[in-house]
Amino acid sequence: MSSRGPLSTAAIKPLSRAWTTADPLLEVSDLKVWFSVSSGVLQRTVGHVHAVDGVDLEIKTGETVGLVGESGCGKSTLGRAVIRLLEPTGGKVFFKGYDITHLRGERLRGLRREMAMIFQDPYASLDPRQTVGDIVGEPIDVHHLAKGKERQDRIQELLRVVGLNPRFVDRYPHEFSGGQRQRIGIARALAVEPSFIVCDEPISALDVSIQAQIINLLERLQSKFNLTYLFIAHDLSVVKHISNRIAVMYLGKIMEIAGGSQLYRRPRHPYTASLLSAIPIPDPVIEMRRERTILQGDVASPINPPSGCRFRTRCPRAREHCAEEVPPLESFGDEHRAACFYPLD
């Protein structure tokens, strides 16, 4: 991919030192995204949903970071905030060394050429009134990347790259199955030639027999175009397959982050451990023998998160201290960090 970039020409304040490809592609520090909750006739703000509440994360060029957690843990919000589909309430987001936290207007539009998103629902994420050609061609038009014949060629090329017949340019989304629609969505994301893609549950709405096709496609595209992924999913088996590192989120905070097999073999945070034990393994022999830690209760409210450690209300290891202080993410060696006062061995 060429080193063009509206980012480099835009006068965005860079970090103190120059960014090199050895530095993290994306750096998030103490990121907060809060949504106000209003009520009453006058719509007064009565509280905030702490969707993302102080997240630190680094993503290196070419790697895939998996982000797992249950619904409402803030993983989608985090994904949208790092590519600036949402404006963070607090903290910083650096992309290629540039502070993009509060970009606006044309500079933000420039950033859109560097980042893309793949959505969960292949039915809702494609405009039903547009043809496949319109959908995939739109990023090309928006950024004036090509015109006329060249534009047509680009669209056909993109369709071929994602495994769709280029003859389908004049078809409408409703004529395609879920898996094919997801390919259209991927082609649209690739059209801006991004370096970073947020995949927000890209396979959870697809049929089981189609999921592997899409995962393999995403992996092939990554090595072909040197893409960096933030892969958001609730299915830890899929995340473990595709990711170099996995971050586990709970109620707006990262509880644990580690390499995939490290996390699976030796989880330090009790939440990770119970999450792992809750995932069914498609093997009856293993399933029958498995010891299960079944978590009690539901996730607490993100409007009034528990004091101290957010997981303590469901944690089998919680003690008094957990309610008093927020555990920091501490290193357990080799890129393995967990936020727990009483970690597992």
Binding site: M1, S2, L85, R113, R129, E138, V142, G163, R171, V192
Partner: protein, 307 residues
């Protein structure tokens, strides 16, 4: 840049490439048109409206070839001729040919209806889309404005406006549209709010599209079906409003013929010259009915689930 040479290396499963449906490309509009065509009564109503519109457009031709009268030609020797003979549908109190006046009246009545719909749809869509899309204080301001407009008793407004401006077809259309856009704005805003929630709007934002593109390329086409239904149902309503205003003497002023003001004059002669009431009344009735039937047919065609 994605080059063709690279693609050849990608081992894409063949079935994923070729396995799509073999049906010819069918857009939403094509499918809706197919469903509309299958609805015979709806199509008949649509064709009837089309015929009326054609007659209205070709009124001078009909005057010259068919009736051989001009709408405002007075012939005091031929007052109250019953239908038949030289005057196919009879004459009125000034000996003017009823058929000729009905044909020219169609021009005025249908013209006013069309212009009114066009103006209220344009203004209403613009306001509704801005309010729904941007939300926040703009939404509040625009929607309070709509509430205010809709709260004004329309009939008093019409009376007042008619006194202030002598109604011509164009000014009458603007007067009716000054109230009509409010409902359109509400309708469009509601649709925009629901379409805006869908992921493809976020997806389009994620590629860096500007607001104008989002509104014109994505929101408008998705709101259009609702607008078309509103327009076709609106024609009927407006014809009725216009006829009522004309009848009350607040609309199109004689001697310009409209279906409504032909009724005004006819009222006095109801007992001895019933054709003066029957024909304009029948035309209004048929046109409004056709417009409603056609409007419902379009609604069904766009959204088969509603059936």
């Amino acid at each position: 840049m994605i080059g063709p040479s690279r693609v050849a290396e990608l081992d894409m499963p063949g079935a994923a490439i070729e396995g799509a449906s073999t049906r010819p490309a069918q857009s939403y509009w094509n499918e809706s048109w197919e469903r509309l065509r299958a609805n015979r009564i709806g199509m008949a109503a649509g064709i009837l409206i089309l015929i009326f519109a054609l007659i209205a457009i070709l009124a001078p031709v009909f005057s010259a070839v068919l009736t051989h009268f001009q709408p405002q030609t007075i012939d005091l020797s031929q007052t109250f001729s019953p239908p038949g003979g030289k005057h196919l549908l009879g004459t009125d109190e000034l000996g003017r040919d009823t058929l000729t006046r009905l044909i020219w009246g169609a021009r005025v009545t249908l013209g006013v209806a069309l212009l009114t719909v066009a103006v209220s749809l344009t203004v209403g869509t613009a306001v509704g889309m801005m309010a729904g899309y941007y939300g926040g204080w703009l939404d509040d301001v625009l929607m309070r404005l709509v509430d205010t407009v809709l709260a004004i008793p329309a009939i008093f407004l019409f009376i007042l406006m008619s006194i202030l401006f002598r109604p011509t077809p164009v000014s009458l259309a603007l007067i009716i549209a000054s109230v009509g856009w409010g409902q359109v704005a509400r309708l469009v805003r509601g649709e925009v709010l629901s379409v805006k929630q869908r992921d493809f709007i976020l997806a389009t934002r994620s590629i860096g599209a500007r607001h104008l593109r989002l509104m014109l390329r994505h929101l408008l086409p998705n709101v259009l079906p609702v607008l078309i239904v509103a327009a076709s149902l609106g024609v009927g309503q407006i014809i009725l409003i216009e006829a009522a205003l004309d009848f009350l003497g607040l609309g199109i002023q004689p001697p310009t013929p409209s279906w409504g003001n032909q009724l005004t004059n006819a009222e006095s002669y109801f007992f001895h010259s019933i054709w003066l009431v029957n024909f304009p009344g029948l035309l209004i009735f048929v046109t409004v009915l056709a417009s409603n039937v056609f409007g419902n047919a379009i609604r069904d065609a766009f959204d088969p689930r509603l059936k």
